[in-house]
Structures are given as C-alpha cells and as structure tokens.
C-alpha cells in the first residue's frame, strides 16, 4: 500500500476519520450508558411476567437489607454482652435500626389500641360470666411475685389484652436466638449476635458500602479494649465484597494478562509500534459494542458487558494475523473476512429471541466483532510501519506438516471424546444460581451459621398475596389464616408469618369495635362479676373508660406504625410495588411440597413461590433458549461457510476439528468434575469462534511455504496469547472467571492442535 498514491491517501484519511468519529461517538455514548447490575432481569421472563417481576421485587425487599453481625473473641460472655449493648446503642444513635435482643419497650403507644388489636375481642368476652372468670384469674395472679411489676396494668386492662398481644407477637418470632445478659448469643455463648437493618436494599451498593463502613468504624470506636472481633455478613456485605473482589481480581488479572501478552507480542514482532497497535482492534470493538447496545436498548446489563468482552477476546487475534502476514496482507483478507462473518453469524440467532439479556449479548458481540474487524482491515494497515520485516519464521517449517501419527491420534481422541460425552461422562448442568457467587466458601459458611444462630433463615418459600391497596391485602391475608391452619394441622409446615398478625385489617378492627359493649352494659356486667370478688369498688373505672373510648376511636392504619419496630416488621411483610400492594407470608418449617396444594386451590391473587426453584428455573430457561439459539447459529455458520468456501466438503474439513475440539473441551471439563454453567456455555461460543478462525486459516488454499509459515506463526502467537490470558483467568478464585478461563484456555489449546493436525 503506497502512501504516495493520492487516491489511496484520500481513502485512508476517510477511514481514519470514520474510525475517529465512531470512537468519539462511542465514548460519548459509553459514558452515558447506565449499567444494570440486576441478574434476575437479565434472565428471561417466561410464562408469567408478573411472577418473575415479583421475585425481583422480593429480592429488593426487607431480607436483603439486613446485615448479620457477630462479636467473637476470648473475652467473657459478660464483656461481650455489654459490648453488644454499647455497639447497638452507638449504631442506633447514627440512625441504623439494630436488633440485639434487648427488649425495646416502644409498644406503649399501642396500649390505647388494645381492644382493636387483640384477637381475643368478642362481645362474649365482656359478659358477666366471662369477666368473672377472667377477674378470678387476675386475683390468683396477684399472689405471684411477678404481680409486683404487672399489677399496675390491672385497673385499665383487667382482661389482659395488651399482654396477650405482646405474647402473640413474641410467639411469631420463636426462632430468636438464646439470650445471655439480656442480649442475643450463639447457643455456645461464644458469639454475641446482632441484626442491622441498613434501610437500603442489597443491590444499592454504595448505600450498603457506607453502612458497612459505618458499622466497622463504630465498632472500632466502641471496642476500645479489643474485647472482640467483628464478623459481618449478609446480602449487602456479599454484594459489596463481590464488587470489590471482582474489581480487584479483574484488575490484577487484566494487568498480568496485558503484561504477558505485551511481552509475547514484543518478543515476537520486536516493535513497540505493533505492540500499541495490537490493542486497538479490541478496544475499538468493545467501545463500539457498548455504544451500539446503549443506542438500541438504552442501557446495558453488567452481565452483557462481562460476557460480551469475553466473546470479543477473539479480536486480539485479528491484528496478529495482519502482523504475521505483514508482507502479504492482501492475501489474508478473504480468510479473515470469512472468519469474522462466520463468527458474527453465530450470534445473529441470539438477536431473534425474546430474552433481552441474550439479545443484548448478540448485538454486543456482532457490533464488537464487525467493528474490530473493520478497524483491522481499513484503519490498522495505515498505521503500520513502512519498513518492517517479520522476524525469521523458517524454524517453523518442521512444524508445518504434523506427522501422520499425530493426525490419527487427534482424530481418535476427538471421536473417543464424542463417545465419552454420551456414555462415560455425562454433562451435568449447574442450575443453582447461588453456585456462581464470587463469595468464597468459608464466608458463605459463616453466613449460613450466623443465619441459623440468629434464626433468620433466608426466605426461600413464601406465599404472596397481591391487592390494589393495603387494606385489601390485609383482608386477604386474614382470609388465608384458616387455610394456613389447615396446612399446619396436616403437618405440611410449622409456622408462617404475616403482616395481619401484627396489624389486623381495618375491617377486622371495626368488627372488634362493634363487639365492644356500651358503658352502661359493661358496668352492669362488671358489677355482677365483682359480687363474689374482693376487688375494691371503682377500681376498674380506667377499664370502663378505655372500652368506651375504643368503641369510637379511628382504627390503626399501617402509616400509624411508621418509625416503630412494629412498623418495620409490618413494612417488611406488606409493601407497595408500583400500583399494587404485596403481602408476603414466609413459610417456615416446610416438611412437604405445598406447591400442589396451592395449584389445586387456585386462590385468587395468591401465589405460592419457591424462590430457589423459581430463580433456578429462570436460569434453566435462559440456558435452553441460549442452546437453541446456538444451534440455529451453527446452522447459519454452516451456510455462510458453504457460501464462502463454495464446497460442502471443505465446510466439513473446516468444521470437523472445531466440533471435535468443543467436544473434547466439554469432556475434559466434565471429567474434572465441573458443573457446566451459563458461563461455560458462553465461553464455548468463544471457543467456537476461535476454532473456526484457526481452522479457516490452517485450511487456507495458499500452498506457498512462506505463506504457510506466516499463517502458522500468526496462529501460534494467537493461541499462545489467548491461552495465557484465559489461563490466568482460570487461576481466579471467582467461579465465573474461573469457568470462563478454564473453558477457553483448554478449548483454545485443543482447537489449535486439532486445527493444526487435521488441516488439509
């Protein structure tokens, strides 16, 4: 390419201009692109869109806002208990809601509502016989030593409604941890336990991070005598930690990978300029890809970004092809073009799906690949040095033609793997979303222990009641109480919790008000009851007044509870989402599959949800859809290759090593005991693309020895750098990165050998 030719120069300038324009536009778009880190909405929304939406909302609910804290150390239980109290107080002072077992008596304002909240209220309760029986009981209680502290309630609440309410609430939270010195402790007494409500849902990472920082700083301030260590867990901690781990680990790995690849390229090509140029296609590809997705979808999923960049890994190879074929660039464009188009075709199938996540990924990969390739073809050559020669490649001659024995061996290996795939090592799919968390196993174990000790099991099975307003939701919850009683009696579950336990619907409160007797009637009944009892005359005047007042007072509304502990409890079980209200009923101690029961009864507006199976089902759906799309993609690839190579025989020659490599890759992974996840699947797509590239290049019709040497040289550099990059990922502790690294590392290694050995 001569720079002196003015026409070409014009074209060159145009290409560079367009590239710069694209780049700047992309950068501008990328800066504005919001990243959606929500895994669930990335996954498909299949049968009932409202259902998956509901799951999403639940995961933003109360459970994800809680942080679990343990204070551990050599000091005595008493010291840890007082530390727990001081710590909790300090945190409360800073606006966090903290639960550590200390009894907080802030239910006093509810005392006035006792005749509306107590489930014991009925007209019969205030009859002379009933009052007589109850007051006889109260008289007995006066002989107890506790009466010293409780008898002051007697004149205003002789029927004991307030105590009954408190006891009922306490019964709802039976799973609470043991107490020592008035605060929660693990059963072995070694850890003081606390729960903190961060107010912000777990996915609001910045809010979580500042809450965690606040907790740590406060603890440092309180723990002046170094009495204990702070253990912290919970969804928020995990979310922040995974962000940190992923950030620091990807940073470290990408720096290491860049350095090594840079060294490889520098040693191979001995040119600083080429080194700098080699990174440009990938960078251009990523920028354009993000910009395109942003333009089409208005946002990009964090996962699309991660998967997409993985898939674009192939773009490292494009400049290497050019460098190795420096003296004969014009002769590789056709092969490179076919390789790029074929790979891009593989992703077209992804676009035609309903899953926005998969669609984004398809668009990302295609836009990235095409722009990287276009850059390599039209812009990169203009920046190449005028006088530069590829270092000697003659030493590769011996490797040009693999020995016959190797060819047979590799084909045999491939076919053995194929047989193994169907017989010995069945592929096992990992369906558990949780398995993909980057949180190390010991920390997950700690979380599990703390959860068990705190009696705060993850809400995994629940019933969701939807309604247009809070009142209807409460009424529907109350109607379900009978049904739950049946389930408990059948032994299907041990307990359940619901907002209506704490706050009855207004309808129910009004029914109770209607059941309260008029003053005159109550006086008559009370006097009759008191005839045989030693209580002094006029003692119960406060009671008479309270009942009279309760008859007409406005019922308690959810809003009245705002800011109280009870309000917190109620709002975690009853909340508004969009235009509708949701009441959730966590089911505890489930011993049988109750999904059938709910299917059978088909209650209106009431759904049973098993969060784990639901999210896992979403994952399976996504995978199946992705697999189907990949199958269509492969068909497209075959068609494009057929069109490009103009011979079905050559299509088979090109694709055979690719197919065998993927099979060998899967068999190796499976025999290593790896559960195949979505991330492995996406990585296999990259292996497919790279494999086709290698195979196309090895099978180039060019018979000239020098040309073949250059091709082998290029592919060796490509393979080595790819294996190094992904091999480093395989060393990562983060399951996702490890999965991608292993799959691509092994896959590319095998692909190279297969393509080399089986090339014609």
């Amino acid at each position: 390419m001569s720079i002196n030719n003015p026409k070409i120069k014009k074209q060159t300038l145009a290409a560079i201009f367009i590239w710069l324009l694209c780049l700047l536009t992309s950068i501008w778009l990328v800066i504005k692109t919001p990243i959606n880190n929500d895994l669930i909405s990335f996954l498909p929304q299949t049968d009932a869109p409202s259902k998956s939406l509901l799951i999403n909302q639940l995961q933003e609910g109360m459970a994800t806002r809680l942080l679990l804290i343990a204070l551990e150390g050599q000091s005595t239980t008493a010291i840890k208990a007082s530390l727990s109290k001081r710590f909790a107080q300090e945190l409360r002072n800073q606006g966090l809601r903290v639960f550590n077992g200390e009894r907080v008596d802030n239910h006093q304002n509810l005392f006035a509502y006792r005749y509306l909240l107590s489930h014991q209220i009925s007209a019969e309760r205030f009859s002379a016989e009933s009052l007589s029986r109850i007051l006889q009981q109260r008289l007995y209680e006066l002989s107890s030593p506790i009466s010293v502290f409780e008898k002051h309630l007697l004149p205003s609440d002789p029927t004991g409604e307030f105590l009954a309410i408190l006891q009922a609430w306490q019964g709802m939270s039976q799973n609470q941890p043991e107490k020592r010195y008035g605060v929660w402790f693990s059963s072995d007494g070694k850890r003081a336990l606390l729960l903190v409500d961060t107010i912000a849902p777990a996915f609001e990472l910045d809010a979580q991070e500042s809450a965690i920082k606040l907790i740590n700083n406060t603890f440092m301030r309180v723990n002046t005598d170094d009495d204990a260590d702070l253990l912290l867990s919970g969804p928020g901690v995990f979310a922040v930690a995974s962000r940190e781990t992923i950030r620091s680990e990807t940073q470290m790995l990408s720096i290491a990978a860049s350095v090594i690849v840079a060294l490889i390229i520098l040693l191979t090509y001995r040119s600083l300029r080429l080194l700098l140029l080699s990174a440009l296609p990938l960078l251009t590809g990523i920028l354009v890809a993000v910009a395109t997705v942003s333009l089409l979808f208005g946002q990009i999923y964090g996962i699309t970004l991660a998967f997409g960049i993985t898939l674009l890994g192939i773009a490292i190879d494009y400049p290497i092809h050019v460098f190795s074929h420096f003296q004969s660039q014009a002769r590789i464009w056709a092969t490179l073009g076919l390789s790029v188009i074929t790979t891009a075709m593989g992703y077209i199938a992804m676009i035609s799906t309903d899953f926005s996540g998969l669609m984004q990924l398809g668009v990302f990969a295609i836009a990235g690949l095409l722009s990287a390739a276009a850059f390599t073809r039209w812009v990169l050559p203009n920046f190449l040095p005028q006088t530069w020669y590829l270092p000697d490649t003659k030493w590769l001659t011996a490797l040009l033609f693999p020995p016959r024995a190797l060819v047979v061996l590799f084909s045999a290996l491939g076919f053995i793997a194929l047989i193994a795939l169907f017989t010995i090592t069945p592929v096992s799919w990992e369906n558990d979303l949780a398995a993909l968390t980057p949180i190390p196993a010991p920390e997950r174990a700690l979380d599990k222990t703390l959860r068990a000790e705190l009696g705060a099991p993850e809400i995994s099975q629940l019933v969701v009641i939807t309604a247009p307003d809070a009142e209807t939701a409460l009424q529907r919850s109350e109607l379900m109480q009978e049904e739950f009683k049946v389930l408990i009696n059948k032994g299907f579950l041990k307990a359940y919790d619901m907002a209506a336990h704490y706050l009855p619907s207004i309808q129910t409160q009004q029914l109770r008000q209607a059941a309260l007797p008029e003053r005159a009637q109550l006086v008559t009944a009370l006097n009759q009851a008191l005839q045989t009892l030693p209580f002094k005359l006029g003692l119960f005047e406060p009671f008479l007044q309270a009942v009279e007042k309760a008859r007409t007072m406005p019922p308690l509304h959810p809003d009245d509870l705002k800011g109280t502990d009870l309000g917190l409890r109620v709002s975690s079980l009853l909340f508004q989402t969009g235009n509708s209200w949701v009441a959730i009923v966590p089911l505890m101690g489930i011993t049988a599959d109750v999904s059938g029961w709910f299917e059978e009864h088909n209650y209106n507006n009431i759904y049973y949800l098993n969060l784990k199976t639901e999210t896992n089902r979403l994952m399976v759906d996504f995978r199946e859809e992705a697999l189907e799309r990949v199958a269509w993609g492969v068909l497209l690839i075959i068609l494009v290759l057929w069109f490009g190579l103009k011979s079905l025989r050559r299509v088979v020659i090109v694709l055979l090593p690719v197919a065998l490599s993927i099979i060998v890759d899967v068999v190796i992974l499976s025999s290593l005991g790896t559960q195949i996840t979505l991330f492995h699947l996406i990585s296999l797509l990259l292996v497919l693309g790279i494999g086709i590239d290698y195979s196309l290049f090895f099978n180039r019709p060019d018979r000239e020895i020098a040309m073949r040497q250059r091709t082998l040289h290029a592919l060796l550099v490509c393979a080595i750098s790819t294996i190094v990059v992904f091999g480093l990922l395989a060393l990562s502790e983060i399951p996702v990165l490890k999965a991608i690294g292993e799959t691509v590392g092994i896959g590319v290694f095998v692909s190279f050998l297969m393509a080399w050995a089986l090339a014609q």
């Binding site: 010293v148 502290f149 107490k179 008035g182 209580f535």
Partner: protein, 195 residues
C-alpha cells in the same frame, strides 16, 4: 450518804444508757460478711411459708400458703398450694411458670431480675451481686438479725421500697416487702425437711 445514793443513781443511769454498747462489746462481732458466709454454707433449703399480702386494690388481705425450695447457686422454686396451685421455678436466667405454661427470660425483665436476686443472692451469700442493686443494712445479733435491702437501682425503686429479711444464725424466718405504692407483703418461713 445522799451523795452516795446520787452517785449510785448516776452510775445506774449511765449503765442503762450504755447498756447496748456494753452488750455489743460483749457479743462477738457480727458482720455482713459473716452472715453471708454462714448463709452460703447451706447449699439446699426447704421451707413452708405463709404470706400475707395487703393490697390497695383488694378489700381484704390475701393469704398465700406454699413451699419454697432453694438449690445453690441459682435454682429457686415457689410452689403455692393455696388459694390455688401454682409453681414458679427459676433456674439461672429462666423463669418457668407451672412447668412451662409460661416461660420468661429474666434478662428480658431486668427489674424483676433484680428483685429475684434479692433472695437468690442472699441465699447464695453473694454480697457483690446484692450490692449491684441494693444498699444493705444489717442489724441485730447472730441469733436474731435483720437484713434490710433498699433498692439503689432507680427502676426497681419505682416498684419496691424495702425488702427486710429477719433471721437467726443461718436461717431466714421472715421476709417483709414494702412496695412503693404502699402495698405490703409479710412472709413467714418455717423450715421443713424435704420428703
């Protein structure tokens, strides 16, 4: 002689005035520490009790009868046989009513716990614990002493004014409780051998 009579008279008056001091000087020293030590020497106690409660809410006194049982260091049982049958048991931090009909953690009710400890810590001879919640006065001699506990804990003082235990040697024979609202309880204890 008149002077002599006067002198004798003066001497007698002085003697009478000084009698308590002489008495105190004559009996061996009887300290709180010693009482506590002698109380703690008995790891297990059984007693029959009659309790008389004078309550402002009631027209008549409440008479309660039953048994008390103590087992060092922190078990107490109060079994009422009249006017109704009822069992209260306290073991460490747990209060059990009627063998589990109602179950409370004492630490949830710090005021009640301090009240319980007035008895439990006395029986265990645990002076430091007693001093956590009460100011303590001991009067009398070894064979006839009165231990008065005044709540120093503000919250407890809201309910209880004074707890007065009377005893002889290592035996407690009477416990009087005066509540802040004027209600009053008198408990008479008679030791009995556990069956």
């Amino acid at each position: 002689m008149t002077i002599g009579i006067k002198t004798i008279y003066k001497f007698i008056v002085t003697l009478i005035l000084c009698y308590p001091m002489i008495l105190i000087a004559a009996t061996p020293a009887w300290s709180l520490e010693q009482l506590m030590q002698s109380l703690s020497a008995i790891p297990s106690r059984h007693a029959y009790f009659t309790e008389e409660k004078t309550l402002a809410m009631l027209k008549k006194k409440l008479i309660i009868k039953g048994f008390l049982h103590y087992e060092a260091p922190d078990y107490m049982k109060r079994e009422i046989i009249s006017p109704q049958h009822e069992i209260y048991e306290i073991r460490s931090d747990e209060l059990l009513i009627n063998r589990g009909e109602r179950r409370l953690a004492l630490s949830d009710y710090p005021v009640f716990k301090a009240f319980v400890d007035s008895f439990r810590a006395t029986l265990a001879g645990d002076l430091p614990k007693l001093r956590q919640h009460y100011r303590i006065w001991l009067k009398g001699k070894k064979s006839d002493w009165v231990l008065s506990l005044y709540p120093s804990n503000q919250k407890l003082a809201r309910y209880v004014k004074i707890i007065k235990m009377s005893g002889s040697f290592n035996r407690i024979v009477k416990i009087e409780t005066l509540e802040s609202d004027g209600d009053h309880t008198l408990m008479i204890l008679t030791p009995y051998l556990s069956p």
